[in-house]
Symmetry: C2
Subunit: 355 residues, 2 copies
Amino acid sequence: MSKFLLKKYASLLPYTPGEQPKTGGYIKLNTNESPFPPSEKAREEYLKAFDKLNLYNDPENGALGAAIAKRYGLKTGNVLLTNGSDEALAFIYMAYADAEHPFAAPEISYGFYPVFSQLTGARNVTFPLKPDCSVDADAFVKTEYNVVFANPNAQTGTFMPVEDVERIVAASPERIVAVDEAYVDFGAESSVGLIKKYPNLIVIGTFSKSRSLAGGRIGFALSSEEIVSDLKRIKYSFNPYNLGRAAEAAALGALADEEYFSECTARVKQAREFTRAEAKRLNMEVVDGKANFLLMRSELIDGGELKDRLFAKKIIVRHFSTPYLSPYIRVTIGSMDEMKTFIKVLENILKGAAK
Amino acid sequence: MSKFLLKKYASLLPYTPGEQPKTGGYIKLNTNESPFPPSEKAREEYLKAFDKLNLYNDPENGALGAAIAKRYGLKTGNVLLTNGSDEALAFIYMAYADAEHPFAAPEISYGFYPVFSQLTGARNVTFPLKPDCSVDADAFVKTEYNVVFANPNAQTGTFMPVEDVERIVAASPERIVAVDEAYVDFGAESSVGLIKKYPNLIVIGTFSKSRSLAGGRIGFALSSEEIVSDLKRIKYSFNPYNLGRAAEAAALGALADEEYFSECTARVKQAREFTRAEAKRLNMEVVDGKANFLLMRSELIDGGELKDRLFAKKIIVRHFSTPYLSPYIRVTIGSMDEMKTFIKVLENILKGAAK
């Protein structure tokens, strides 16, 4: 830290991304990526985009905005494109969060929400999960604060039915409700249909998971035209060309290939249910999740220890050292082959631990 | 604007990017892009990157950071990679600018500096240009504030010798001096050599101009390790995966092709000097610029009018309606063929205006 850094950042604790191994040979189940390559249509568009890479992209990303609007039954004025969904969240916090306007979030959720709170000088307001690890909708119905949560929730994967989301959004038109749907495409249901009815709802999406484009950096926020116009005001005061030509092209191609999208998400769901059943067979406790990961723990071995032993066998999973999550490992759902290997290795580790 | 937007942004006036025509057939001399495609080595790396687009990029962008460090004789700890240089500037303002810590900038410079000031609640402090349109180094030597300027300067293209930059940086170690070198590769000299001596200097660079990658979105900041560590703290609290795989790959390829880089920048310089000489022959007043654009005006016709007449002939140049710049047009240097066409069309317009 230099002597110049503004004092307000002195205790700022940045987000820690999951490990990205530099060498191959690992089964990578730690950052909720897709095990499948992007669509071949994404490749076609991506290759074509190179020829105009000397020219700035359309700062409005009009073509992609129109395609996303169409996909979700909205208008282009309801869509903001961002450099990954983290940037959408960052713009939302910049626009709406300060000391007087915190965002309330689940105590266990995406680890970036408290970072954004710190960054914008907002208090970190959280509500505990329910005993079954699901998000407590009633707590969010009652709060006067802005609201943000992931649905399915981050780390746990639990899904809040759209009726409950609507209860939260409808409870007060005087606050923002931001629903982060990064993991929605693996069997959960989107709240995007509520946007026409509630101008205070923001739904955040990403191409990083179900569209196999984590390294492409494409995110979006869907909301009322007033909210999108606020967020564009921030974007145009921060980084107007935030989504480049390669990202826009790949996203357009991916979006045009619904068949591949359905196939990939179906395969992830199938591998998830296989993994869930097998882990339960091995006496793991598995949280009831609908995302492309599962949170699980064993009574025999602590989460951190289990993560290390898996790593020694070339399988990378995510472990969080916070008290609540420490007993668990979070396992991204890879291909069926990868999950079979994971279960086999897990079984051996648990056998050893049981002795 | 929604009722939710924080009051501090009520009067925020976002940046207005230059026009990106949706249809072809225009000679595009308005946003300082390169008229040449990116290097074929950039294409190779870009194509290869697609196969891993389902995986997050290295958030440190270590490979590109090392290549840039090597190129500029620095260490990787001196390099921050960003989603275009606008994001580098945004992070710098976030880290160092507030009501008590403004950045002083030239009155005529990159139009984004006052926007960043507004965004961060910093006063807009500016110093007038000298009569020859160059940046007044003495004013910046004397100021107690943080300093930012483009060198060559935006809009005017004038270049401040490195000795003068050093005078500014050396005048006080108690403030940041940010030198935006977006346009440095067309015959100007970089101040990057001063970084080892002055921990308060930040040099900002981009692949958008001389590397033909405006649509790829690659920028960087070079500074002392303390400053880079501050900026990374902001980055990891804002958007950790800010530079995706496509951008990193294309940049690595472009950086590996110094021969093509030299050829492209030499051709731009040649076309610029041709354009300068021809414009002077047509009695245009041309500011003494070293960037990939020229600022020029005619006594016969106002800048806005001239821009419109060129547009009617399918040539797009940039016009700024602020009092100082309003008489001028800013003409990006394209290929020699494009500049010959520009001069021919300009000559006809001026002939008509002289009647």
